[in-house]
Symmetry: C2
Subunit: 190 residues, 2 copies
C-alpha cells in the first residue's frame, strides 16, 4: 500500500466514495465495477486490487472492525465483568467506523437490497462467534460466553442505529454506554 500511494493517492478511499455515490444515484444492482473505477479515476485492475467485487466495497471494513473488537476484549483487564469487557470491544469499534455521513449512505444502500442485508447479518453472526471465542479465551464458559457476545452485538447494533438516526452530535461511545445501561436496567427490572 505504501508503495502504491505515490502513484495512486488514496485510490481505495476514492473507490469507496465513488461506489457510494453511484449506489445512491442508480442503485447497487445497476452499478458496475467499470463505472465505479471510472468515477474514481482508476482502472478496473486497481479496483480489483482493493476489493473482490462491488459488494465488498461496502463490507471491506468488517475484518478491521472484528479485529479491533476482538483485540479490545482480549486486552481488557481480567478483573472486568464479561459484559464490561465486551463493552470495551464495542467502544473500540467506534474508532474504526467511517464518519456518520458515509455510514448513513452505506446503511441506506444496504437497507434497499436483500442480498446486502443478508451479508450484513452474516457479518454480525461472524462477529458474535469471534467475540464468544475471545470470551472463552478469557476463561468464561458457555452458555455465558455466547450470551455475552450476543448481548454485545445487540448493544453495538442498537447504539449504531441510534447514532445513524440522531440529528444531534451525540457520539457513539456515549450511545454504547447508554444502551448497555438499558440492558442492565432491563435485567434488574425482572
Amino acid at each position: 500500500m505504501t508503495g502504491m500511494a505515490r502513484w495512486e493517492p488514496d485510490s481505495r478511499g476514492r473507490l469507496r466514495h465513488a461506489a457510494l455515490d453511484l449506489y445512491g444515484e442508480r442503485g447497487f444492482e445497476r452499478t458496475t465495477v467499470a463505472e465505479i473505477a471510472r468515477r474514481a479515476g482508476v482502472t478496473e485492475r486497481t479496483f480489483f486490487r482493493h476489493f473482490a467485487d462491488k459488494r465488498e466495497v461496502l463490507f471491506a471494513g468488517s475484518e478491521e472492525l472484528q479485529e479491533t473488537m476482538v483485540r479490545a476484549v482480549a486486552d481488557a483487564p481480567a478483573s472486568l465483568a464479561p459484559l464490561d469487557a465486551v463493552a470495551r470491544g464495542v467502544e473500540a469499534a467506534g474508532a474504526v467506523l467511517p464518519d456518520r455521513e458515509m455510514a448513513r449512505r452505506r446503511q441506506t444502500v444496504i437497507a434497499a437490497n436483500a442480498e446486502l442485508r443478508e451479508r450484513e447479518l452474516i457479518k454480525f453472526a461472524s462477529l458474535s462467534a469471534a467475540l464468544a471465542e475471545t470470551l472463552r479465551g478469557r476463561g468464561l464458559e458457555d452458555p455465558a460466553a455466547s450470551l455475552t457476545a450476543e448481548i454485545g452485538i445487540a448493544v453495538f447494533r442498537n447504539a449504531f442505529e441510534r447514532w445513524l438516526a440522531a440529528d444531534d452530535e451525540r457520539d457513539l461511545p456515549a450511545l454504547v454506554r447508554d444502551s448497555l445501561e438499558q440492558v442492565s436496567a432491563l435485567a434488574a427490572g425482572r
Copy 2:
C-alpha cells in the same frame, strides 16, 4: 387442508420427513423436489401445494413460531417486566417446535449450507423485529423494546442450541429459564 386430509393423510408431514431424509443422505443441493415427492409417495403438484420450494420445507414452521411468540408476548400480563414478557414468548415457542431428533437433523442440514444458514439468520432478524414491535405495542419505548427483543432472541437461540446438543432429557423451557438467569447474572455482575 381439512378437505385434503381425506385423500392425502398427512402428506405435509410425510414430505417434511422425506425431505430431511434425502437432505441427510445426499445433501440439500443434490436433492430435487421430484425426489422428495416420490419418497413421500405424493405428486410434485402436492409438494407445491404445501411448500414454495425445497428450501421452505425447512422453514415452514417459522411463521407459526413467530405468531406463537408474538401472541404470548402480547398476552402476557401488563405487570410483567419486559424481559419476562419476552420469556413467555420464548417458552411458548417450545410448544410448536418439532421433536428433538427432527430438530437436530434439520439443524445439521442447515449448518452444512451457507444459503440455509443465511435464511435462518433472516428468520431470526424478522422474529426480533416482530417482538420489538409487539413490545412497543405494550408501551415499551425504544431503545428498550429493540434491546429486549434482541436479548429474547439470544436467549431463545442459546437455549435451543443447548437443547439440541444435550444428551439428557432436559426440556427446552428449563433451558430457556436458565439462559435468562444467566443474562440477569451477567447484567448484575457488571
